[in-house]
């Protein structure tokens, strides 16, 4: 199966990536994509949160690429997917920029959806990236969320 993994400092446009991904999978009936965008607040909703002005994404070069490739291989074992694209930023980000993009191509929409969500859930708990947010009260490392662990674990029994 084809796949493309890019860990990059440069900003990207998720729409351009979707256009390219769809074009190179023109025979796949189903294309699913997910984009994680940087929010400009740090809590559950904007009203009860602090404003976030910048984010720094640190990562583990080598292991990040390796771990993402491993997740793609696992997705390929579980579902009939034709292609996967994963793009993940590192370095400095500003609000509304895309942080991560995952796209899957399959003959069937159920498999495209499942593989895309699986990749996002596992990426969140396995890929070595760390977010550091800067707002009015200073700079803090973002804490991991137990809900992300729970969502990843769902796939163990599926």
């Amino acid at each position: 199966m084809a796949h493309k993994i890019r860990v990059q400092r440069a900003a990207f446009d998720q729409g351009d990536e979707l256009t390219k991904f769809s074009a190179r999978n023109a025979s796949s009936g189903a294309i699913c994509s997910f984009t994680g965008q940087m929010r400009d607040f740090n809590g559950p909703d904007k009203k009860s949160s602090e404003t976030i002005t910048t984010m720094e994404l640190e990562y583990y070069p080598g292991m990040a690429e390796r771990e993402l490739a491993e997740l793609v291989a696992q997705a390929q074992q579980r579902w009939g997917i034709d292609d996967v694209c994963i793009i993940h930023r590192f370095g400095n980000l500003t609000p509304t920029e895309a942080i991560v993009f995952v796209a899957t191509a399959s003959a069937h929409r159920a498999e495209a959806f499942a593989a895309c969500e699986f990749l996002m859930d596992w990426l969140k708990t396995k890929a070595p990236f760390w977010k550091k947010e800067t707002g009015p009260s200073g700079t803090t490392w973002v804490a991991a969320q137990s809900s992300d662990e729970d969502r990843a674990k769902r796939w163990e029994n599926n």
């Binding site: 994404l57 640190e58 969140k124 708990t125 070595p128 760390w130 991991a144």
Partner: protein
């Protein structure tokens, strides 16, 4: 052996990487953390609460009991928060 630190572990220790040769008695990740904790106050602070620390041995997710004999690269970091 290359030892890597990320995020707040890197900040507390003051460097992102060290090349070290632990004594032969250091056979597991736990023993390595014990040994590293003695290097400086920053190391001690970084390794104070081990529940907060995740480990990769040669770029593979591992745990405190993982044996490190022959390993080339050992990384310590907080739970990941990408995506």
């Amino acid at each position: 052996m290359n030892i890597l630190y990320f995020a707040w572990l890197r900040e507390r220790i003051g460097v992102g990487a060290e090349t070290l040769s632990p004594p032969a008695a250091v056979e597991t990740v736990t023993q390595l953390m014990d040994w590293l904790s003695q290097r400086s106050a920053g190391h001690a602070a970084a390794f104070a609460d081990r529940k907060l620390i995740r480990i990769a041995v040669d770029q593979v997710h591992s745990n405190p009991a993982t044996r490190i004999i022959g390993a080339k690269e050992i990384a310590f970091f907080p739970p990941v928060t990408g995506g």
